[in-house]
Protein backbone atom coordinates (compact mmCIF):
# COMPACT_ATOMS: atom_id res chain seq x y z
CA UNK A 1 0.00 0.00 0.00
CA UNK A 2 1.23 3.47 -0.81
CA UNK A 3 -0.42 5.51 1.88
CA UNK A 4 1.33 8.82 1.36
CA UNK A 5 -1.34 10.34 -0.90
CA UNK A 6 -5.11 9.99 -0.86
CA UNK A 7 -6.09 6.41 -0.14
CA UNK A 8 -8.94 4.23 -1.31
CA UNK A 9 -11.98 3.31 0.74
CA UNK A 10 -10.85 -0.31 0.70
CA UNK A 11 -7.52 0.59 2.19
CA UNK A 12 -9.26 2.72 4.79
CA UNK A 13 -11.54 -0.12 5.82
CA UNK A 14 -8.62 -2.49 5.95
CA UNK A 15 -6.66 -0.11 8.19
CA UNK A 16 -9.70 0.25 10.40
CA UNK A 17 -10.25 -3.46 10.85
CA UNK A 18 -6.60 -4.19 11.35
CA UNK A 19 -6.09 -1.35 13.80
CA UNK A 20 -9.19 -2.09 15.86
CA UNK A 21 -8.02 -5.68 16.07
CA UNK A 22 -4.61 -4.62 17.36
CA UNK A 23 -6.16 -2.15 19.79
CA UNK A 24 -8.37 -4.90 21.17
CA UNK A 25 -5.61 -7.47 21.34
CA UNK A 26 -3.30 -5.01 23.09
CA UNK A 27 -5.79 -4.00 25.72
CA UNK A 28 -7.00 -7.58 26.09
CA UNK A 29 -3.48 -8.74 26.87
CA UNK A 30 -3.08 -5.91 29.37
CA UNK A 31 -6.39 -7.00 30.87
CA UNK A 32 -5.07 -10.54 31.28
CA UNK A 33 -1.86 -9.26 32.82
CA UNK A 34 -3.86 -7.17 35.27
CA UNK A 35 -6.01 -10.16 36.12
CA UNK A 36 -2.76 -11.95 36.91
CA UNK A 37 -1.72 -9.05 39.17
CA UNK A 38 -4.45 -9.89 41.61
CA UNK A 39 -3.22 -13.41 42.18
CA UNK A 40 0.49 -12.56 42.10
CA UNK A 41 0.85 -9.28 43.95
CA UNK A 42 -2.36 -8.83 45.84
CA UNK A 43 -2.09 -11.92 48.00
CA UNK A 44 1.64 -11.75 48.23
CA UNK A 45 1.40 -8.31 49.71
CA UNK A 46 -0.81 -9.50 52.53
CA UNK A 47 1.90 -11.90 53.56
CA UNK A 48 4.88 -9.60 53.21
CA UNK A 49 3.77 -6.01 53.71
CA UNK A 50 5.87 -3.58 51.69
CA UNK A 51 8.36 -1.81 53.89
CA UNK A 52 7.62 1.87 53.61
CA UNK A 53 10.73 3.65 52.34
CA UNK A 54 9.48 7.15 53.02
CA UNK A 55 7.64 7.23 56.32
CA UNK A 56 4.48 9.34 56.15
CA UNK A 57 4.99 12.52 58.07
CA UNK A 58 1.63 12.74 59.73
CA UNK A 59 -0.36 9.56 59.66
CA UNK A 60 -2.69 10.38 62.44
CA UNK A 61 -2.06 13.97 63.41
CA UNK A 62 -5.38 15.67 63.90
CA UNK A 63 -6.07 19.36 64.42
CA UNK A 64 -8.99 20.22 66.69
CA UNK A 65 -8.43 23.43 68.55
CA UNK A 66 -11.79 24.50 69.97
CA UNK A 67 -15.31 23.33 69.51
CA UNK A 68 -16.97 26.35 67.95
CA UNK A 69 -17.80 25.37 64.44
CA UNK A 70 -17.82 27.99 61.74
CA UNK A 71 -19.07 27.70 58.18
CA UNK A 72 -16.52 26.89 55.50
CA UNK A 73 -13.96 25.64 57.97
CA UNK A 74 -13.87 22.31 56.27
CA UNK A 75 -12.56 23.98 53.22
CA UNK A 76 -9.79 25.77 55.05
CA UNK A 77 -8.73 22.50 56.57
CA UNK A 78 -8.99 20.84 53.19
CA UNK A 79 -6.71 23.45 51.68
CA UNK A 80 -4.15 23.00 54.41
CA UNK A 81 -4.43 19.24 54.17
CA UNK A 82 -3.93 19.32 50.43
CA UNK A 83 -0.95 21.62 50.86
CA UNK A 84 0.55 19.17 53.31
CA UNK A 85 -0.31 16.32 50.98
CA UNK A 86 1.44 18.07 48.14
CA UNK A 87 4.52 18.56 50.30
CA UNK A 88 4.64 15.13 51.83
CA UNK A 89 3.35 13.01 48.99
CA UNK A 90 0.85 11.51 51.40
CA UNK A 91 -2.68 11.17 50.02
CA UNK A 92 -5.21 13.57 51.48
CA UNK A 93 -7.32 10.88 53.05
CA UNK A 94 -4.52 9.89 55.39
CA UNK A 95 -3.96 13.32 56.89
CA UNK A 96 -5.95 14.46 59.87
CA UNK A 97 -5.27 17.84 61.39
CA UNK A 98 -6.06 17.74 65.06
CA UNK A 99 -4.15 20.33 66.97
CA UNK A 100 -1.25 22.74 66.90
CA UNK A 101 1.35 22.41 69.57
CA UNK A 102 4.47 24.27 70.59
CA UNK A 103 7.33 23.84 68.20
CA UNK A 104 10.39 21.99 69.56
CA UNK A 105 12.58 24.65 71.08
CA UNK A 106 15.90 23.34 69.86
CA UNK A 107 15.92 21.87 66.41
CA UNK A 108 18.18 18.83 66.07
CA UNK A 109 21.53 19.63 64.55
CA UNK A 110 21.05 17.40 61.58
CA UNK A 111 18.02 19.38 60.48
CA UNK A 112 20.72 21.42 58.82
CA UNK A 113 22.06 18.42 56.97
CA UNK A 114 18.55 17.78 55.74
CA UNK A 115 18.65 21.05 53.90
CA UNK A 116 21.79 20.03 52.09
CA UNK A 117 20.65 16.83 50.58
CA UNK A 118 20.01 18.63 47.33
CA UNK A 119 19.55 16.27 44.47
CA UNK A 120 20.38 13.18 46.41
CA UNK A 121 17.34 13.00 48.56
CA UNK A 122 14.24 14.98 49.37
CA UNK A 123 13.43 16.49 52.70
CA UNK A 124 12.50 13.54 54.88
CA UNK A 125 12.76 13.83 58.58
CA UNK A 126 13.64 10.72 60.55
Amino acid sequence: MNLQDGISLGEAIFITLFSMAIVFVTLLVISFILAGFKSVFYKEEKKVPVKKEVPPISDNAVVDSTEELVDNDEEIVAVIASAIAAQTGESVENIYIRNIRRVPQNSPAWAVAGRQEGIHNNFNRR
Partner: protein, 375 residues
Protein backbone atom coordinates in the same frame (compact mmCIF):
# COMPACT_ATOMS: atom_id res chain seq x y z
CA UNK B 1 1.86 63.26 5.21
CA UNK B 2 3.76 60.78 3.13
CA UNK B 3 5.21 59.19 6.28
CA UNK B 4 1.79 59.03 7.90
CA UNK B 5 0.50 57.30 4.80
CA UNK B 6 3.37 54.83 4.96
CA UNK B 7 2.86 54.29 8.67
CA UNK B 8 -0.82 53.65 8.10
CA UNK B 9 0.01 51.11 5.45
CA UNK B 10 2.32 49.37 7.89
CA UNK B 11 -0.41 48.97 10.49
CA UNK B 12 -2.57 45.93 10.84
CA UNK B 13 -5.66 48.06 10.34
CA UNK B 14 -4.68 48.78 6.76
CA UNK B 15 -3.44 45.36 5.75
CA UNK B 16 -5.88 43.08 7.50
CA UNK B 17 -7.47 40.49 5.26
CA UNK B 18 -11.01 39.27 5.63
CA UNK B 19 -9.67 35.89 6.68
CA UNK B 20 -7.62 37.39 9.46
CA UNK B 21 -10.62 39.36 10.64
CA UNK B 22 -12.72 36.21 10.81
CA UNK B 23 -9.97 34.35 12.66
CA UNK B 24 -9.72 37.13 15.23
CA UNK B 25 -13.47 36.94 15.79
CA UNK B 26 -13.21 33.16 16.18
CA UNK B 27 -10.36 33.58 18.64
CA UNK B 28 -12.44 36.04 20.66
CA UNK B 29 -15.33 33.58 20.71
CA UNK B 30 -13.02 30.88 22.02
CA UNK B 31 -11.70 33.19 24.72
CA UNK B 32 -15.29 33.93 25.68
CA UNK B 33 -16.14 30.23 25.84
CA UNK B 34 -13.04 29.45 27.86
CA UNK B 35 -13.42 32.30 30.34
CA UNK B 36 -17.18 32.52 30.69
CA UNK B 37 -18.26 28.96 30.05
CA UNK B 38 -15.19 27.33 31.51
CA UNK B 39 -14.61 25.21 28.38
CA UNK B 40 -11.15 23.62 28.94
CA UNK B 41 -9.69 27.01 29.81
CA UNK B 42 -6.22 25.65 30.56
CA UNK B 43 -5.65 25.03 26.89
CA UNK B 44 -8.29 27.10 25.13
CA UNK B 45 -7.05 30.40 26.56
CA UNK B 46 -3.48 29.94 25.28
CA UNK B 47 -4.71 28.42 22.01
CA UNK B 48 -7.16 31.25 21.36
CA UNK B 49 -4.58 33.89 22.23
CA UNK B 50 -2.12 32.19 19.90
CA UNK B 51 -4.78 32.36 17.16
CA UNK B 52 -5.26 36.04 17.91
CA UNK B 53 -1.56 36.83 17.73
CA UNK B 54 -0.80 34.86 14.58
CA UNK B 55 -3.63 36.56 12.73
CA UNK B 56 -2.43 40.04 13.56
CA UNK B 57 -1.28 41.32 10.16
CA UNK B 58 2.42 42.18 9.78
CA UNK B 59 3.28 40.98 13.30
CA UNK B 60 5.21 38.03 11.88
CA UNK B 61 5.43 36.14 15.16
CA UNK B 62 5.41 32.78 13.36
CA UNK B 63 7.94 33.78 10.74
CA UNK B 64 11.53 32.57 11.09
CA UNK B 65 12.99 34.70 13.88
CA UNK B 66 9.62 35.51 15.44
CA UNK B 67 8.86 34.66 19.05
CA UNK B 68 6.21 32.05 18.34
CA UNK B 69 8.36 30.46 15.66
CA UNK B 70 10.96 29.57 18.28
CA UNK B 71 8.44 28.43 20.86
CA UNK B 72 6.73 26.38 18.14
CA UNK B 73 9.78 24.18 17.64
CA UNK B 74 8.83 22.14 20.70
CA UNK B 75 5.45 21.47 19.17
CA UNK B 76 6.79 20.85 15.69
CA UNK B 77 9.35 18.31 16.88
CA UNK B 78 6.72 16.51 18.95
CA UNK B 79 8.42 17.35 22.25
CA UNK B 80 5.73 19.14 24.23
CA UNK B 81 2.93 16.54 23.96
CA UNK B 82 4.97 13.63 25.38
CA UNK B 83 6.20 15.94 28.14
CA UNK B 84 2.59 16.70 29.00
CA UNK B 85 1.93 12.97 28.99
CA UNK B 86 4.74 12.63 31.50
CA UNK B 87 2.90 15.10 33.70
CA UNK B 88 -0.49 13.51 33.06
CA UNK B 89 0.95 10.14 34.03
CA UNK B 90 2.19 11.65 37.28
CA UNK B 91 -1.36 12.82 37.91
CA UNK B 92 -3.30 9.70 36.95
CA UNK B 93 -4.41 6.95 39.29
CA UNK B 94 -4.72 3.69 37.35
CA UNK B 95 -6.07 1.95 40.46
CA UNK B 96 -9.66 1.62 39.22
CA UNK B 97 -8.36 -0.05 36.07
CA UNK B 98 -6.16 -2.48 37.97
CA UNK B 99 -9.07 -3.33 40.26
CA UNK B 100 -11.34 -4.13 37.32
CA UNK B 101 -9.24 -5.31 34.36
CA UNK B 102 -12.24 -6.18 32.21
CA UNK B 103 -13.19 -2.53 32.04
CA UNK B 104 -10.13 -1.91 29.90
CA UNK B 105 -11.97 -3.43 26.95
CA UNK B 106 -14.45 -0.58 27.05
CA UNK B 107 -11.48 1.68 26.48
CA UNK B 108 -10.72 -0.37 23.37
CA UNK B 109 -14.27 -0.36 22.03
CA UNK B 110 -14.55 3.41 22.24
CA UNK B 111 -11.57 3.82 19.91
CA UNK B 112 -13.80 2.78 17.04
CA UNK B 113 -14.80 6.43 16.90
CA UNK B 114 -11.30 7.15 15.65
CA UNK B 115 -11.42 4.73 12.76
CA UNK B 116 -14.99 5.46 11.79
CA UNK B 117 -13.93 9.07 11.45
CA UNK B 118 -10.90 7.99 9.48
CA UNK B 119 -13.15 6.28 6.94
CA UNK B 120 -15.36 9.36 6.95
CA UNK B 121 -12.41 11.60 6.09
CA UNK B 122 -11.39 9.28 3.25
CA UNK B 123 -14.94 9.44 1.93
CA UNK B 124 -15.00 13.23 2.16
CA UNK B 125 -11.76 13.26 0.17
CA UNK B 126 -13.77 11.94 -2.75
CA UNK B 127 -15.88 15.13 -2.70
CA UNK B 128 -14.69 17.85 -5.07
CA UNK B 129 -14.12 20.64 -2.51
CA UNK B 130 -12.49 18.64 0.22
CA UNK B 131 -9.11 17.01 0.25
CA UNK B 132 -7.69 14.61 2.83
CA UNK B 133 -4.47 12.74 2.30
CA UNK B 134 -4.15 9.53 4.27
CA UNK B 135 -1.98 11.24 6.86
CA UNK B 136 -4.43 14.12 7.18
CA UNK B 137 -7.32 11.71 7.57
CA UNK B 138 -5.43 9.89 10.29
CA UNK B 139 -4.64 13.12 12.14
CA UNK B 140 -8.26 14.17 11.93
CA UNK B 141 -9.49 10.80 13.09
CA UNK B 142 -7.43 10.92 16.27
CA UNK B 143 -9.76 13.66 17.53
CA UNK B 144 -11.98 10.69 18.38
CA UNK B 145 -9.35 9.63 20.89
CA UNK B 146 -10.62 12.49 23.04
CA UNK B 147 -7.16 13.00 24.36
CA UNK B 148 -5.41 16.29 23.75
CA UNK B 149 -1.71 15.43 23.93
CA UNK B 150 -2.19 12.30 21.81
CA UNK B 151 -4.03 14.28 19.15
CA UNK B 152 -1.41 17.02 19.09
CA UNK B 153 1.50 14.57 19.02
CA UNK B 154 0.09 12.59 16.09
CA UNK B 155 -0.88 15.73 14.21
CA UNK B 156 2.55 17.27 14.68
CA UNK B 157 4.01 14.16 13.12
CA UNK B 158 1.48 13.53 10.32
CA UNK B 159 -0.07 16.85 9.37
CA UNK B 160 1.36 19.86 11.24
CA UNK B 161 -0.63 22.33 9.16
CA UNK B 162 -3.81 20.92 10.66
CA UNK B 163 -2.65 21.53 14.24
CA UNK B 164 -4.90 24.57 14.58
CA UNK B 165 -8.25 23.06 13.54
CA UNK B 166 -7.57 19.65 15.10
CA UNK B 167 -6.53 21.14 18.44
CA UNK B 168 -9.56 23.37 18.50
CA UNK B 169 -11.95 20.59 17.53
CA UNK B 170 -10.43 18.18 20.04
CA UNK B 171 -10.49 20.53 23.01
CA UNK B 172 -13.87 21.98 22.13
CA UNK B 173 -15.56 18.61 21.97
CA UNK B 174 -13.80 17.51 25.13
CA UNK B 175 -15.38 20.51 26.81
CA UNK B 176 -18.74 19.58 25.29
CA UNK B 177 -18.66 15.97 26.48
CA UNK B 178 -21.38 16.64 29.09
CA UNK B 179 -23.65 17.80 26.25
CA UNK B 180 -22.70 15.35 23.50
CA UNK B 181 -22.68 12.11 25.46
CA UNK B 182 -25.89 11.89 27.57
CA UNK B 183 -28.44 11.65 24.70
CA UNK B 184 -26.38 8.96 23.01
CA UNK B 185 -26.00 7.08 26.27
CA UNK B 186 -29.72 7.19 26.91
CA UNK B 187 -30.68 6.22 23.39
CA UNK B 188 -28.54 3.09 23.44
CA UNK B 189 -29.41 1.73 26.88
CA UNK B 190 -32.55 0.72 28.71
CA UNK B 191 -33.63 2.30 31.97
CA UNK B 192 -33.03 -1.00 33.71
CA UNK B 193 -29.45 -1.17 32.43
CA UNK B 194 -28.71 2.37 33.52
CA UNK B 195 -29.89 1.55 37.02
CA UNK B 196 -27.41 -1.27 37.50
CA UNK B 197 -25.37 -0.78 40.67
CA UNK B 198 -21.87 -2.20 40.41
CA UNK B 199 -20.11 -3.88 43.28
CA UNK B 200 -17.35 -2.08 45.10
CA UNK B 201 -13.87 -2.23 43.61
CA UNK B 202 -11.27 -4.24 45.45
CA UNK B 203 -8.37 -2.54 47.16
CA UNK B 204 -5.30 -2.20 44.93
CA UNK B 205 -1.91 -2.69 46.55
CA UNK B 206 1.02 -0.32 46.15
CA UNK B 207 3.06 -3.04 44.46
CA UNK B 208 0.45 -3.49 41.78
CA UNK B 209 0.39 0.23 41.12
CA UNK B 210 4.18 0.34 40.79
CA UNK B 211 4.37 -2.69 38.50
CA UNK B 212 1.50 -1.53 36.30
CA UNK B 213 3.28 1.30 34.42
CA UNK B 214 6.37 -0.84 33.85
CA UNK B 215 4.42 -3.79 32.45
CA UNK B 216 2.19 -1.66 30.26
CA UNK B 217 5.16 0.28 28.90
CA UNK B 218 7.09 -2.90 28.15
CA UNK B 219 4.28 -4.77 26.47
CA UNK B 220 2.75 -1.89 24.53
CA UNK B 221 6.00 -0.47 23.22
CA UNK B 222 7.31 -3.90 22.25
CA UNK B 223 4.11 -4.56 20.33
CA UNK B 224 3.90 -1.09 18.86
CA UNK B 225 7.25 0.70 18.81
CA UNK B 226 5.70 3.80 17.24
CA UNK B 227 3.72 4.38 20.45
CA UNK B 228 6.94 4.62 22.47
CA UNK B 229 7.05 8.39 22.98
CA UNK B 230 3.46 8.66 24.23
CA UNK B 231 3.16 5.44 26.23
CA UNK B 232 6.73 5.69 27.49
CA UNK B 233 6.31 9.17 28.94
CA UNK B 234 2.84 8.44 30.32
CA UNK B 235 4.10 5.39 32.15
CA UNK B 236 7.31 7.01 33.36
CA UNK B 237 5.16 9.76 34.87
CA UNK B 238 2.95 7.17 36.50
CA UNK B 239 5.94 5.27 37.86
CA UNK B 240 7.28 8.49 39.36
CA UNK B 241 3.90 8.98 41.01
CA UNK B 242 3.35 5.47 42.29
CA UNK B 243 6.92 4.66 43.36
CA UNK B 244 6.39 6.95 46.33
CA UNK B 245 10.14 7.50 46.70
CA UNK B 246 10.41 10.65 44.59
CA UNK B 247 7.59 12.88 45.83
CA UNK B 248 9.31 16.09 44.73
CA UNK B 249 9.65 14.78 41.19
CA UNK B 250 5.97 13.84 41.18
CA UNK B 251 5.02 17.23 42.50
CA UNK B 252 7.13 19.22 40.05
CA UNK B 253 5.91 17.28 37.02
CA UNK B 254 2.30 17.69 38.11
CA UNK B 255 2.68 21.42 38.64
CA UNK B 256 5.52 23.57 37.31
CA UNK B 257 6.48 21.41 34.36
CA UNK B 258 2.85 20.66 33.46
CA UNK B 259 1.77 24.27 33.34
CA UNK B 260 4.90 25.63 31.71
CA UNK B 261 4.60 23.14 28.87
CA UNK B 262 0.84 23.65 28.70
CA UNK B 263 1.22 27.33 28.02
CA UNK B 264 3.97 26.85 25.42
CA UNK B 265 2.01 24.11 23.68
CA UNK B 266 -1.23 26.07 23.76
CA UNK B 267 0.12 29.30 22.31
CA UNK B 268 2.02 27.59 19.52
CA UNK B 269 -0.81 25.25 18.57
CA UNK B 270 -3.06 28.29 18.32
CA UNK B 271 -0.38 29.96 16.25
CA UNK B 272 -0.87 27.28 13.59
CA UNK B 273 -4.38 28.63 13.01
CA UNK B 274 -3.39 31.23 10.48
CA UNK B 275 -6.28 32.35 8.31
CA UNK B 276 -5.03 30.78 5.10
CA UNK B 277 -4.44 27.43 6.81
CA UNK B 278 -7.62 27.54 8.86
CA UNK B 279 -10.41 28.94 6.73
CA UNK B 280 -10.79 26.01 4.40
CA UNK B 281 -13.43 23.44 3.68
CA UNK B 282 -11.03 20.99 5.28
CA UNK B 283 -11.39 22.78 8.61
CA UNK B 284 -15.16 22.62 8.35
CA UNK B 285 -14.85 18.91 7.57
CA UNK B 286 -12.57 18.42 10.55
CA UNK B 287 -15.03 20.12 12.85
CA UNK B 288 -17.89 18.01 11.52
CA UNK B 289 -15.83 14.81 11.63
CA UNK B 290 -14.73 15.60 15.18
CA UNK B 291 -18.33 15.56 16.32
CA UNK B 292 -18.84 12.26 14.50
CA UNK B 293 -15.73 10.88 16.17
CA UNK B 294 -16.90 11.72 19.69
CA UNK B 295 -20.42 10.49 19.03
CA UNK B 296 -19.44 7.19 17.44
CA UNK B 297 -16.80 6.55 20.09
CA UNK B 298 -19.39 7.12 22.80
CA UNK B 299 -21.85 4.86 21.01
CA UNK B 300 -19.46 1.96 20.47
CA UNK B 301 -18.29 2.27 24.06
CA UNK B 302 -21.88 2.07 25.32
CA UNK B 303 -22.77 -0.76 22.95
CA UNK B 304 -19.78 -2.77 24.09
CA UNK B 305 -20.91 -1.98 27.60
CA UNK B 306 -24.26 -3.57 26.75
CA UNK B 307 -22.44 -6.64 25.55
CA UNK B 308 -20.53 -6.86 28.80
CA UNK B 309 -23.78 -6.26 30.70
CA UNK B 310 -25.16 -9.34 28.96
CA UNK B 311 -22.06 -11.48 29.41
CA UNK B 312 -21.68 -10.54 33.06
CA UNK B 313 -25.28 -11.38 33.82
CA UNK B 314 -26.24 -7.79 34.46
CA UNK B 315 -23.39 -6.89 36.74
CA UNK B 316 -21.84 -4.21 34.52
CA UNK B 317 -23.61 -0.93 33.92
CA UNK B 318 -23.23 -0.14 30.20
CA UNK B 319 -23.07 3.60 30.93
CA UNK B 320 -19.45 3.27 31.94
CA UNK B 321 -18.66 2.30 28.36
CA UNK B 322 -19.13 5.93 27.36
CA UNK B 323 -16.16 6.83 29.54
CA UNK B 324 -13.95 4.75 27.22
CA UNK B 325 -13.44 7.71 24.92
CA UNK B 326 -10.90 9.19 27.41
CA UNK B 327 -11.68 12.88 28.04
CA UNK B 328 -10.44 12.18 31.57
CA UNK B 329 -12.18 12.77 33.94
CA UNK B 330 -15.18 14.45 32.31
CA UNK B 331 -16.48 11.37 30.55
CA UNK B 332 -16.35 9.41 33.81
CA UNK B 333 -18.27 12.17 35.54
CA UNK B 334 -20.89 12.14 32.83
CA UNK B 335 -21.37 8.41 33.35
CA UNK B 336 -21.72 9.07 37.09
CA UNK B 337 -24.32 11.78 36.56
CA UNK B 338 -26.44 9.91 34.03
CA UNK B 339 -26.37 6.83 36.24
CA UNK B 340 -27.32 8.73 39.35
CA UNK B 341 -30.21 10.40 37.61
CA UNK B 342 -31.83 7.00 37.05
CA UNK B 343 -30.94 5.67 40.48
CA UNK B 344 -29.92 8.24 43.09
CA UNK B 345 -28.06 5.62 45.13
CA UNK B 346 -25.96 4.68 42.13
CA UNK B 347 -22.29 5.55 42.29
CA UNK B 348 -20.50 4.76 39.02
CA UNK B 349 -17.62 7.22 39.09
CA UNK B 350 -14.87 4.89 40.23
CA UNK B 351 -16.07 2.17 37.87
CA UNK B 352 -16.11 4.63 34.99
CA UNK B 353 -12.56 5.74 35.78
CA UNK B 354 -11.35 2.30 34.65
CA UNK B 355 -12.52 2.59 31.04
CA UNK B 356 -11.69 6.29 31.20
CA UNK B 357 -7.96 5.83 31.82
CA UNK B 358 -7.96 2.73 29.61
CA UNK B 359 -9.18 5.03 26.87
CA UNK B 360 -5.99 7.07 27.22
CA UNK B 361 -3.93 3.95 26.63
CA UNK B 362 -6.24 2.87 23.82
CA UNK B 363 -5.93 6.20 22.06
CA UNK B 364 -2.17 6.14 22.37
CA UNK B 365 -2.13 2.65 20.84
CA UNK B 366 -4.38 3.83 18.03
CA UNK B 367 -2.08 6.81 17.49
CA UNK B 368 0.86 4.44 17.33
CA UNK B 369 -0.89 2.40 14.65
CA UNK B 370 -1.75 5.44 12.56
CA UNK B 371 1.84 6.65 12.93
CA UNK B 372 3.01 3.23 11.77
CA UNK B 373 0.82 3.39 8.67
CA UNK B 374 1.33 7.03 7.77
CA UNK B 375 4.45 8.21 9.61
Amino acid sequence: MDILQKFWESTGFASMTGGEFIMIIIALVFIYLAVKKGYEPYLLIPIAFGMLLVNMPEAGLMEDGGLLYYLYQGTDKGIYPPLIFLCVGAGTDFGPLIANPKSILLGAAAQFGIFFTFIGAILLDKLPFVSFSGAEAAATAIIGGADGPTALFLTSKLAPDLLGPIAIAAYSYMALVPIIQPPIMKALTTKEQRQVKMEQLRHVSKTEKVVFPIVVALFTILLLPSAAALIGMLMLGNLIRESGVVPKLAETTQNSLMYIVTILLGITVGAKAEAELFLTTQTLSIIALGLVAFSVGTATGVLFGRLMYKLSGGKINPLIGAAGVSAVPMAARVAQKVGQKENPSNFLLMHAMGPNVAGVIGSAVAAGLLLMFFG
